[in-house]
């Protein structure tokens, strides 16, 4: 489904993503982990089109999307959430989701009206359990609900691949568990492929089938959670080398 080949992204002298190649199959749930500054979010930004790579190639469902804009990638079926929820804070939850439906390829294909788009937005709000919050402004929603709303927004663009960027950050354990269950339910209901960037290893290790580990812009491990958790390079990247005191 997604083929990333030899991707490089530099910011001045810093190589944020260094020759990364990844292949992701349809229906997979792939965890992307790594220490702070390892290049996870940069990789997500490259795949979603917010950054353009210095070199390398990204192919999605046989189409070369390396030079395509973010909105074109959304229309092809690539959606994402942001580390810090980015929604239109001055607008209601319903309006935010309506925008996403308006931006989706379905809106054009089905020649939907704004009212129809709003009706469809209500459906996605219901799925994530925010229907009764539809008329609240985003600035009045707590972080947990903003995260759910971002997931709903990603869904509203009718994606095939969703990239979830640190969806657990700032949530308490109960909220985090709810989000995990929701993501798993969405995957089954919508037949989604998911790339899940996360810091909370405990959750990601039990929720994904495959884990990619990045460190200093490079992909250092790729395997099942069990394999990765025993990988010496990964342990070194997270814990560091033993130092004689």
């Amino acid at each position: 489904m997604l083929q990333v080949s030899n991707l490089v992204k530099r910011f001045g002298g810093i190589v944020a993503v260094n020759d990364v190649s990844v292949k992701i199959d349809r229906g997979e749930v792939v965890g992307l982990i790594g220490p702070n500054g390892s290049g996870k979010t940069t990789l997500i930004n490259l795949i979603s089109g917010f950054y353009k790579p210095d070199s390398g190639r990204i192919v999605f469902e046989g189409i070369d999307i390396t030079k395509k804009d973010p909105d074109e990638r959304v229309k092809l079926g690539i959606a994402r959430t942001f580390q810090v929820p980015r929604l239109i804070s001055n607008m209601t939850a319903l309006q935010n989701l309506t925008y996403a439906v308006v931006g989706s390829r379905r809106f054009k294909e089905k020649k939907m009206t704004l009212s129809e788009a709003a009706m469809e937005a209500l459906y996605y709000l219901d799925i994530v359990g925010l229907l009764r919050k539809r008329d609240l402004l985003c600035m009045d929603l707590p972080l947990y609900e903003l995260r759910l709303l971002e997931l709903a927004r990603a869904l509203a663009t009718s994606p095939k691949l969703i990239m979830v960027d640190e969806v657990m950050a700032g949530l308490n354990p109960v909220e985090a568990d709810n989000v995990v269950k929701l993501v798993q339910r969405l995957r089954e209901e919508f037949k989604l492929t998911i790339i899940w960037v996360e810091h909370v290893l405990r959750i990601i290790m039990r929720s994904v089938e495959r884990v990619l580990v990045m460190n200093e812009g490079k992909l250092i491990a790729d395997g099942t959670p069990r394999e990765v958790s025993r990988d010496a390079t990964v342990i070194k990247a997270y814990v560091g080398e033993e130092v004689a005191v």
Binding site: S48, G49, F50, D69, P70, D71, E72, V74, K75, A79, R80, F82, R86, L87, I88, S89, N90, M91, L94, Q95, T98, Y99, A100, V102, G103, S104, R105, F107, L114, S115, A117, A118, D135, M139, R153, T157
Partner: protein, 357 residues
Amino acid sequence: MVIKVEPRRGRIIIHLFDKWRLEWTVEPRYWRNPLIAAILWICLPSLIPFMPRGLPVGPTTILSSLFMANVVAISAIAHSLQTIGTGRVNFGPHFFVVVGGYVAALLNKNYGLSPALTFLAAFALTALVGLALSPLTIISRGIYFTLITMILPLILYELVFWRVDIFGAETGIPGISRLVYTGDIMNDYVMCLYLSLAITLVLLFIVDRILRSRWGFMFGVINEDEDVASSFGIETKKLKVTVFTLTCGVMGISGWLIAHYYGSFAGTVWLEPWLLIFILLSGVLGGKAAIYGSVLGSYFVVLTRDLLRPFVGEVALLALYVVLLAALYLLPEGLWGIYRKTRYREYMPTIRVRRRA
């Protein structure tokens, strides 16, 4: 009976020719205020020629001021839409006004094109200049976009002096066909005013429709956060280029009106910062990107300047700026904010593009 009035509880029903039915709710908050405003707006200018003589301000001054207010309003509406649709503040709207003015003046003077044809040409060629400059909305944002657009009028200013043979520098281009010529000056003033009013009303209607449509919906997101708009799947580049191009064309119409109203066009006068300030202030004072507010703001700015002149003389412009500063300080949500506060809250599909203070 041709007209039958049927009073009911809380409303009045008017039957016309037993065919049409007009229902009027008595309670003021349900009044169709825009309709009332439009009717007053259309009717009042026709009464100005009959105002008593001997007042400090004569009817021709008022008619001329109202015409100018409409000219500023056209640019201010276009500028507001541009600000919403591109998420950027253009500091060179007067550049496009002058381009439109020169297009109209040159084509009329040199090729004998009628005002109707120069209208189309002014819109089309200014839009073309806008299209050529539209990549600016993609490659620059924030203060960089503002600075670049601020330089455009300065470039044109130099160009006007460099090619005196074409643009006539400070003298300008004289001998342009008048918009209306009936022989009666008062009639000419009133007709010109109505023409500018008609253009403003049509523009207001079109922009209102756009902002309430899905396009306006998308502009609202671009205005708030372009990256979020992209992640919604909204084609930000295409929309920004389109809205920039078309609104530049509309600003050119202001220039067309000026050129044909005065019968001569000197770009140097209109390239000075006061026109920029008038257009920007009309938007801000009217109510931050509210298009109806832009009209209110334009009328407030232009009429305050012209009506202050008989009382304070040479310092009219200075007095205007003092009044405007006070208004900006006292009305943080602008003139339109006063009206909005009295209205019930509107839900979908009205979009809120006003930023938080």
